[in-house]
């Protein structure tokens, strides 16, 4: 479904990604682990081209989506993204946050956009908060609205960049359970996370990155129970 090949990216002459590959099958959940600064966010952002890779290729559904002459706005609708810091639009209520792209990008009329948005808010359990402004919502609720904003566009793949890292511990659970629901419904997902339990239970495949390269990759039991690389073993020890 989503395939990235040999992605290189440098900032100010420093290589942040050194030829990273990523394969995501349809309905698969791939979790990316790694220490801070290892290039996980940059990798995700290269996939929807918020960052432009220096080299490498990306294919979505067999279509090449890297390089010039790609409709970026079209591509980004198919790759929903959820950020560590929620990034809700503070001047719009929850419904407005979800409908903005539906109306302006998909060009839907307001009633139609509202209907889809309400359904998306329902999916994340926040239908009753449709009129609430972001500032009145808890972090966990904000992040779920952000998830609704992304899934409302009916993307082929959802990209999550540490969706629970900015949350108070007691609010992590609601976001994780929303992600589990999406997973159960068969959403294809790439999740950068430090939530090892989620990775272990929900991932089909876990990728461990360090210093801009993929160090280890495999199904959760392999990664967690018999770490194939000392860096990975060390990381798991530190995080848990």
């Amino acid at each position: 479904m989503l395939r990235a090949h040999a992605i290189w990216k440098s900032f100010d002459g420093i290589d942040v990604l050194k030829g990273v590959d990523l394969h995501v099958q349809e309905r698969e959940c791939v979790c990316i682990l790694g220490p801070s600064g290892s290039g996980k966010s940059t990798m995700l952002r290269c996939l929807n081209r918020l960052e432009e890779p220096d080299s490498g290729e990306i294919y979505l559904d067999g279509q090449k989506v890297s390089g010039p002459s790609v409709d970026l706005n079209g591509l980004r609708q198919q790759l929903g993204m959820v950020f560590q810091s929620f990034n809700l639009y503070p001047h719009l209520n929850a419904l407005g946050n979800v409908t903005l792209a539906l109306r302006k990008v998909k060009k839907l009329a307001r009633p139609e956009a509202d209907e889809i948005a309400i359904k998306a808010l329902d999916t994340v359990g926040l239908r009753h908060k449709a009129d609430a402004m972001p500032a009145t919502l808890s972090g966990g609720q904000q992040q779920r609205v952000a998830i609704a904003r992304a899934i409302a566009l009916n993307p082929k793949v959802m990209l999550f960049d540490e969706p629970t890292s900015a949350l108070d511990p007691e609010l992590v659970g609601s976001v994780i359970s929303t992600m589990r629901d999406l997973r159960t419904e068969g959403m294809t997902m790439v999740v950068v996370t430090h939530e090892l339990r989620f990775a272990r239970e929900a991932a089909d495949k876990v990728v461990f990155m360090a210093d801009g390269v993929e160090v280890a990759k495999g199904p959760p039991p392999e990664i967690f129970d018999a770490p194939p690389h000392p860096r990975l073993a060390e990381f798991l020890q530190q995080v848990s």
């Binding site: 918020l50 706005n73 950020f83 990034n87 809700l88 001047h91 972001p134 992304a150 566009l153």
Partner: protein, 222 residues
């Protein structure tokens, strides 16, 4: 008391100069309105152009803003009105005044808009772009509404301060309200026309100040 009334609130003088004061009022109001529209749209356009972060464009805009913010508007009016004709470009005093004050307001408001843009978290751009919004849509639906809230108070101050500069335009032969009032005051040796002008300024600028407070509350979303 009577002398004060006769000097400042003289009905006879008021009636005599009402026509010229009224036409001065119309000139000032019209010119001010034009300057607000062109100056603010110019400033906004420049700030948006600056978001592309093209080195040459940014340099030109910064240079423009810095120079125009330093020049007294009157020197610009004089330049357009008296010097440009020497280079074969003539314009009416009205045009010279409009152009000078619009350019100055554009320079100041560009800086205000730009600072406001910078105050918006980068994550807002990313969230918008990641849902497929174009650059222009991101500016108009996500960045600008948030930037406006930051910008409105200083924008109002600047706009009022600069548009009041229409009073300078009598120096380039524009029959604006304050110039008319000063002339009338010296003809009549009576200060009533000046008070009429003061009232005129209130009528023009007080609504602007009130309007901006309204906007401020409208943009206070949390």
């Amino acid at each position: 008391m009577d002398r004060i009334l006769a000097q400042f609130f003289n009905a006879e003088v008021a009636a005599q100069y009402l026509p010229s004061m009224a036409s001065g009022f119309a000139v000032t109001l019209g010119l001010a309105a034009l300057i607000v529209v062109t100056g603010l749209s110019g400033g906004l356009a420049l700030a948006v152009a600056r978001t592309f972060q093209l080195r040459a464009v940014t340099f030109a805009i910064v240079a423009y803003a810095d120079i125009l913010r330093c020049l007294p508007p009157l020197t610009l009016m004089f330049m357009f009105y008296f010097a440009f004709p020497l280079a074969g470009i003539s314009m009416s005093g009205m045009t010279a005044a409009w152009l000078a004050l619009s350019l100055v307001l554009a320079a100041f408001s560009e800086e205000i808009f730009w600072t406001a843009f910078l105050s918006i978290n980068k994550g807002q751009w990313e969230a918008a772009r990641s849902t497929g919004l174009s650059f222009g849509q991101t500016i108009s639906h996500v960045i600008l509404p948030q930037a406006m809230r930051v910008a409105i108070p200083s924008l109002t101050n600047r706009t009022i301060a600069i548009t009041k500069g229409v009073a300078l335009a009598s120096a380039v032969a524009v029959p604006e309200m304050l110039g008319e009032a000063i002339a009338a005051t010296s003809y009549s040796s009576n200060s009533t026309p000046l008070l009429m002008a003061a009232a005129g300024y209130m009528i023009i600028f007080l609504p602007l100040a009130i309007f901006s407070r309204r906007l401020e509350t409208r943009f206070r979303w949390n």
